[in-house]
Subunit: 544 residues, 2 copies
Amino acid sequence: MSITENIFAEFKEHSVAEFFKKNQQMLGFSGKTRSLTTIVHEYITNSLDACEEAGILPEIKVVIKEVDRESGRYLVIVEDNGPGIPEKHIGKALGQMLAGTKFHRYAQQRGQQGIGASGCTMYAQITTGKPIKVESRYDNKKINCEIAIDLKSNAPKVMNLVKAEGNFGHGLKVEAEVADVKYDMSSFGVYEYVRRTAIANPHLHIELVDPLNQKFVFPRSSEHIPPKPITVKPHPLGITTNDLIDFAHREKECIRISSFLQERFARVSPSKIDELKQLLPDVDFNKKPSELTWSEAEKIVKAIHDPKIKWIAPATDSLRPIGKEHIEKSLANILAPQYLVVVERPPKIYKGGIPFMVEVGLAYGGGAGKKNATENGSQSEIIRYANRAPLLFDNAGCAITEAAKSIDWKRYGLKNFEEEPLTIFVNISSVYVPYTSAGKQAISGEEEIFQEIKNAMMEAARDLQRYIAGLNREKERGARKKAILRYVSQLSKDLADLAGKEKPEEIEKKLIQLIETKYSTQIEEQEDEEAPAEEEVKEEEIEE
Amino acid sequence: MSITENIFAEFKEHSVAEFFKKNQQMLGFSGKTRSLTTIVHEYITNSLDACEEAGILPEIKVVIKEVDRESGRYLVIVEDNGPGIPEKHIGKALGQMLAGTKFHRYAQQRGQQGIGASGCTMYAQITTGKPIKVESRYDNKKINCEIAIDLKSNAPKVMNLVKAEGNFGHGLKVEAEVADVKYDMSSFGVYEYVRRTAIANPHLHIELVDPLNQKFVFPRSSEHIPPKPITVKPHPLGITTNDLIDFAHREKECIRISSFLQERFARVSPSKIDELKQLLPDVDFNKKPSELTWSEAEKIVKAIHDPKIKWIAPATDSLRPIGKEHIEKSLANILAPQYLVVVERPPKIYKGGIPFMVEVGLAYGGGAGKKNATENGSQSEIIRYANRAPLLFDNAGCAITEAAKSIDWKRYGLKNFEEEPLTIFVNISSVYVPYTSAGKQAISGEEEIFQEIKNAMMEAARDLQRYIAGLNREKERGARKKAILRYVSQLSKDLADLAGKEKPEEIEKKLIQLIETKYSTQIEEQEDEEAPAEEEVKEEEIEE
């Protein structure tokens, strides 16, 4: 055997499950605290998605039991009242990587890849050797089983299946025994994850039982079930050449490129096809989509971006924001702040064709700000969400954090941003949220998204500024009054002496009236001066 | 169909290639500059690994051609003098994800997952629709072909294959046309990647031709071919229960658990087996490895860590450090600093059983420090490597950066660490380098590794301190001499007058001698005072 042949003698193929076993950190399994949060995140996310799709008002119970502290062994139990998973699919849903319902779907949902829950099964398996336990109730059936993954083949193993018939309601309960994890009250832990999930999902009733058997209940503040996510057609301005080829070569119904474009993409009318044809006389729009070549697709994408063609903006009805009033209720309910402002802005578009929407809430005073703040005062916190799912990690690289840092908070009356009793809530809704990395924990800094987050924060901050200015005025007014009135009594007596009058009380009364009037006028004048500098703010917006 | 069935009607499985197409950032394809660097990195890494395995002194040529600036379309050509890839394997090696020779191998190599080069093929395909072009020369054969991936099935497509026989030497040339990338001279760009690769691989001759057709040549500074990486047996202290089960159930030769443990792991002697047996009377060490249960494996792993059993530390001959003299040559060659110190420390162990080794170089003055420093002075830089491959990204979360930041550089005479003309070179060698994230760009902060990096840096810094102290003394000495000597002439005259002598020149001569002697003595005394505070440094080491 030659050297070259020798080197390649060991050539082998590996399963995706083996790959993720070696690269657990890609799935969020890095660090003990984060690993536990990842598991809870995956199960809660699946439960919420399933409830929303089935139109059920969600109820979730999370139980974390300590099995062995030394090896970081815990039992994680997550139970929901969702639609359950049918027997036929349960193995693949929880015991096979890259199998799922949402991979190619173009709709706003939390999960997407069909890896999450199976990743948890893998993690249980490789840290404790135990399969997960599942109970699924649906359609007058109840199934109990254990599920593992055959890592070599990425095939699900369903074991000890027990079936029953009868009215068991509906829901799913998963139980995973994992090791090398840790339960703690840090801002990366399970408690914080559950709390933040409750804030962004006012229709959710969620309970957490911690390893000390303490029960935390976050009741719903709204009975409104969010509308089902809808699958939308992509807008032409948002697609790449490769997307177009992909769609075209997967096409099974339309027999012409022209009808395919109209059928599969949003806002493509017959007149738009005519405009494209005019720009591209060489491209045959009558041939089969499967015959579309790369260079033709490239030309079509280029023509789509030609300024001669005016596109109607994409519909934004695919977006499922939380809603201003729901966020208000929820923040009031959970943080009980002294002041609260929520800003809901109309949907925007990024990369030309992908709709997104930003919701921002500022909660000030009361229970707002970081929970475990230092003794000598408050600490501000930014709670970040993408499609209502909390983002706890990779804070530094996130567009939300960067937008907050780019704002001159002093201008809005917050003298020391880091040390204010302030919670900044930001939720970004989109069918396609651009994450910076595999962990899906930070939003990438697309210009339109960064700017929109910043604008929304500034809009909310202008409102908060008025409240803080009022607080400050109140304080100052009190302090000045006190200072001036301290001398009034003496001054009155002196004035009475000076004027030769005998009733200093009357002079004092008039003096006080005079001071208070004068003082109020001054304040009003000051108020005008202190009004938010709208012009400047706009300038700042343009600068960026 | 019930709601539940309806939700799962779309259940589908997806290929790992489709997954990575949707999650390109996991493979390093995020951002235009980084995407290009990733491609160059994958090809160079493969070339170096292949040359090392074949015992060839590597020569690599990288050519980047601009095809279309607007769409960021470039041609990347990487050519090496390695062993080539046989026809039989070329499709899988460059056109299939998770296929490769190194996945389960326990040896110190740059590549591991069998994804890198196939990831580049995918990226070319989805950004330009073009397959990569390959020329492979080996064993008196030359093959030319084009390679793409069938993304739906993750199967390689080899096209337009042309074969020739004759003496063509050996080597591999790959040509990928990609878009959505950018060539720049930033610290994240291809030039910097190539420069840093040259620094850590003194036996490599590498050339880069940039889009302006400028040629940069980094000639080798050493003819020494690094020894072939060797595959080592894992040390018992480094394995998890799951590893043990995995190995046992894959075992095909050994028929007993006892012989399997001795055969497959390092430092397991018959007497160690006896000790294990004594600790675990319930475990049957005579049964087949395939019958090992999780709970038995768990017990064995626990017993391995029992303080009663003393293990010989793992062999460290699997480590392939660069070597002190090679690093010195290379840094001198490429940075031409005023002062250079390289510290080579003996191998250490982390997580109980995984050997690793840290090499640190400090280059000061001359061409050291950041290339594109600000006008008003120098900027220090940290150049990070894992197994000689440069780590350009995720600088913030890396143990190397954190170790550098944890050092009080003032103590070593560097007044403003950020603004010194300083290059800190760090290379970590290990069969298993613990990365923080998928991108393999940052070393995770394992305690032993962090501490070892810090100690190595401090050791080098103590040496550098002497040089800097010398520089400072030199400066001070000059300044003082000047100041004192300014008055010597006048003083001599005055003394001559006072003493009634007539030759002030003689007095001046004696005076100068006196001052210089006195002055030198003072300096020597100072030197003693300023000597590196070894005690303190050790204390600091212990504190951590």
